[in-house]
Amino acid sequence: MQQEYVYKKINHIVFGILSPKLIKKMACTKIVTAELYDKEGYPVDGGLMDIKLGVIDPGLRCKTCGGKLKECVGHFGYIELARPIIHIKYIKVILDLLQSTCRECSRLMLENEKIEEYLRLLEKLEKEKGILQKKRKIKEILVALKKSTKCPHCKAKQIKIKLEKPYSFYEKEKRLTTLEIRSRFEKIPDKDIEILGINPAYARPEWTILTILPIPPVTMRPSITLENGERSEDDLTHKLGDIVRINQRLFENINAGAPEIIVEDLWDLLQYHITTYIDNTVTQIPPARHRSGQLLKTLSERIKSKEGRFRHNLVGKRVNFAARTVISPDPKIRINEVGIPLEVAKELTIPEKVTEWNLEYCKELVKKGPHNYPGANYVIKGGVKKKQITPDTQEQLHNELEPGDVVERHIINGDVSIFNRQPSLHRMSIMAHKIKVLPGKSFRLNPAVTAPYNADFDGDEMNLHIPQNEEARTEADILMQVQTQIITPKNGSNVMGCMEDSITGNYMLTKYLSFTKEKAIEILGKIGIEEFPQFKETVTGKELFSALLPKDFDFYGESKSNEPVIVKKGKLISGTIDEATIGESDGTLLRTIFKSYGPEVCANVLTNSFRLGIAVLLEEGFTTSLKDSDLSESIKEKIQTVIKDSKKVVDGLIHRYHDKQLDALPGKTLKETLEIEILRELNMVRNRVGSIIKESASEFNPTVMMARSGAKGNILNLAQMAACIGQQALRGARIKEGYIKRTLSVFKKNDLSPKARGFIENSFKSGLNPIEFFFGAMTGRDSLMDTALRTPKSGYLYRRLANALQDIKVEYDNTVRDANKTIIQFTYGEDGVEVSKSDKGLIDVKSIIKQVKGG
């Protein structure tokens, strides 16, 4: 199809009111009858479906431009109204104008000198402080004007004008006709209305009252043919039919000299129809309905609200070549792959250009057709004719396929796709993945990429798009692939890393495990590593892990427990691998590899270490059980003493409080001081118990291993399971009384003791007593409520921030500027450091020197 490009730039836009003259000028015909079609079903000349207004039927030609369906965009018509009608949307402007001008001479009720003065003032105001200030000033002037009772020009007395909603004006008891209003408006001098912020060149006051009405082209109100051959007209056509009919009747009555009452009734009816034609939701008038009682959707409703033109059609565009289903995990695919069901693969296509060199391949695709994978769904002949491949056409299309055609083939393994999960809060929410067709009906993704998408598998759905041309594919391939997004621009840390079991596996492996040569090779084989060094008879875990690293890789880092982790020449010499080296967001080892070897190698190490961790766990076995929280008698005793001691301290505090011997903290009452002191003491219990457990628990306790490696949980969780849950707090204080002076009716009034205020002595293992359970439920529900309320709030907060900052970017000269090129920051971040290439926002000079020296 031929396309026209317009190389022009919009300089400015003027909003004004359509003048009767302009309406006539843009109209191509006058509409005189409400009839739509004649007996043959052909549009009537001068009717609402006149083919001068554009065509909506195939085969017909537009009488105005000669275009066929889809070529002709449609043309306006007009009708002459028998009497002026108020445009409902200008009702406020009309009221303002009526109240601020003289009823006799139509001048603005201001002295000439004052008018000059205000004009100068307004001009100055606009120039210096902007349009908003000007508007405010105009409003002030208006309010003052409305109070005037005498015209300074002709000295006529003014009568208060009231608006009787929705569209009648009254001067005392007398109703103003639109004719009168219009004639008043016509007399207002141009200069006077400028004070009211109206530019007379584009909006004369009398234009707010319609004398002729534009009829929109049929193309914006097409009729549809129902299955039974009957025609069903658009809501707008119905409404316009009413208007034309009533208008016609009004004309006839006026010409026949009908009594005033009849004319006025018809006039009002016309006013009603035109008002609902413009806006069918005006209050105080009944909305126009279909015969079925359904509301008509007229002009205003087409534009506004969520289903309107803007939010639905212009902002909310939809696309083809996309798919959406539930996601599920598959740690066996690579991080830059996405598993898609066969059904999806057969539906989504890529246009493949047929050339001499791939003719055979393309013929094969066409031969397979739409149902055999991998086949093709369409053939585009000569760049215009799109032909579906069906059993009937298949043979012919196959034989006629020639270079220059385009085959829309199924997507196959290795094709580029764009994968997305809403809300798309940062750029890692949309990444390019390679297609991998898998059995099943869900999208499969490597669990390591759940973090950037913020996805989980409890029913989340994700969208997949297939880029349709070389440029888009290349761009996605180079800029958007998962491995290029490992480092986040937020703070330079890695968004993807090993998680959960995989971290535990690597921790165990590098901490104490060793395997026989055969086992080691088997494990490496399982995760798909074929190149590894010559192993000795027994292979330590560190040696096994080293097989994943690049041969010349040097690394100095720290593990989660602050031991040094040293890698030299691609060999892990000391230290254990855990969350701090390969985990999400603080995997220093992964980051170092990304920096020195690039995204591909980093993605490989990430995928392989993820698999290795799981493979090791499969080999070794790993479980967490009730046994983990067993404690020896001596430890139990120790913990009991800690709790008892603390209770004693609290008792002492309460005693001193009652004896008034407690010293109040600055700015706090005595009671507040007591609460703070008690809470501090009781919170300490949990920490003390935690450290006792930490010291006593075996390193090989699975729960401890998970906590130490950073896979899941911490020592405090274990302490709560094994020893003591501790103080429950609501809003930073112990649980306060809900009954009179007590928390629960089992306690005495004014009981301040730990157990009466939500201290839980038991552990999850020993079980809670009913009172403790109740306190636990209180804090549990509070935190649940808190998260449920905070998530949408903070989400909206973030959205507003992101929208406000969206067009701010760093320019080539390192300045941060907005869309107007106004400078926001003279050097990005005031130090010009690109965060994603730094070490958490800092430049690590030491390691750079080391690198350069080490050479």
């Binding site: 000269d813 300045t815 107007n820 106004t822 400078i823 003279f826 050097t827 005031e830 130090d831």
Partner: protein, 85 residues
């Protein structure tokens, strides 16, 4: 309201107020050429701002501010003086 506290307490001398200074015409031109901008595209500051009161700025002057930012010591910032009210 109008109490003269200036004798006892000068805001511009306070340790938390970064150093403000006026640019000469030459420096102004240099700056505008360096960033390839007009004065409108600079961030602005009110003439009435207490921090620049002592400099007696005119509307359209450019003020250089040297801040001790979190990320780098002595980062310069420029603002153009605009009229208040």
């Amino acid at each position: 309201m109008e109490k003269t506290t200036t004798d006892k307490f000068d805001q511009p001398d306070h340790m938390f107020v970064p150093k403000h200074m006026l640019l000469s015409e030459e420096e102004e031109n240099e700056l505008l050429v360096k960033y390839n901008i007009s004065k409108k595209q600079l961030p602005c500051i009110l003439v009435t701002d207490p921090a620049i009161k002592r400099l007696n700025p005119k509307i359209g002057d450019i003020i250089k501010i040297i801040r001790n930012s979190q990320t780098s010591p002595n980062s310069p910032y420029y603002r153009v003086v605009i009229s208040g009210k």
